[in-house]
Subunit: 153 residues, 2 copies
DNA sequence: GTGCATCCTCTAGCGACTAGAGGATCAAGC
DNA sequence: GCTTGATCCTCTAGTCGCTAGAGGATGCAC
């Protein structure tokens, strides 16, 4: 069982990555172009499973695709210093911590506002009132940023 | 000074929402179509400032655009029950808490991995090793989801 | 009248996929 | 051999919430 040769569907089942996503990863060069059968179907081996699992894992951990590309590059060169891998992970960690901080500020604000809702008419609604008047906020600088990456199930 | 009549640039300065974003909000119907001068420039009044500030505030708090639309609708009808507003805020709060939980799991994993990095060669790198082998993870179910909304700057 | 700031509309791009059209191929059952 | 349904192929467009830029008109100060 050294080279069982998988179809894209089988690779998808083994790694939990959807078929169109595998093709997408190939198209952006995250995975090498797969070998093909005579009828143009993609064929994969065990190494492809490893590589895709690595990609999925890194994406699950929230690394942006460009970081995944760099990490793959590093994984392919075990003799190099791992300083870059360490730096990428540390940067990503800092980014995650920043986002947690922002979300916690939001949570505090939302929790406060919903707790104060008297469940009456909109005219007296604390939720609407606070939205209408920023100065009622605890932390007046709640900004979040876009430009980020998430994984869903 | 009841109706000073603002240009889109002035409205932008007053609310901190960029000019193209204001036009974008109008195009998706979050803001009503502005009145125009003879030369087709948009003209705004104080009510527009209020409405846009409301939108910006809700977006800063991370409400998705569709939720903002509903909240605006509610704010326009003060006699209605605020149950919907309360529900939207509570749902959003739950979503924020879910994301915080996911990010905290990620943080733990990333912190653990980077702390274990011996800063040597890639061959011995804990970061690469963990990415290559999911079973080395503390929490094997770190999934994040896309499909969400953030604010930046 | 001469700049330059501001405005207009329109289109395309971001990240990381996801969904769907329209068509070819395969494997299994009869 | 034939049919059926799953799987595969490529390609395009859509998602979200903007942002950037082209190409052109207008307004206002000097």
């Amino acid at each position: 069982m050294s080279d069982p040769s998988l179809s894209i569907g089988a690779l998808s089942r083994e790694t939990g990555v959807k078929v169109p996503t595998i093709r997408f990863y190939e198209s952006i060069g995250l995975l090498p172009a797969a070998d093909r059968t005579a009828s143009d179907r993609r064929v994969y081996d065990r190494r492809a499973v490893q590589r895709l699992a690595f990609v999925r894992h890194a994406r699950d951990l929230g690394f942006p695709v460009e970081a995944v590309r760099s990490l793959l590059e590093l994984a392919d060169h075990p003799e190099r210093s791992c300083a870059d891998a360490d730096r990428l992970a540390a940067e990503h960690l800092a980014e995650v911590e920043r986002k947690i901080g922002q979300l916690e500020a939001l949570r505090a604000e939302l929790a406060r506002v919903t707790a104060q809702c008297a469940r009456g008419k909109v005219a007296d609604c604390r939720v609407i009132e606070v939205l209408s008047d920023h100065s009622l906020c605890l932390t007046p600088d709640h900004h979040q940023d876009r430009h980020h990456q998430d994984r869903h199930h």
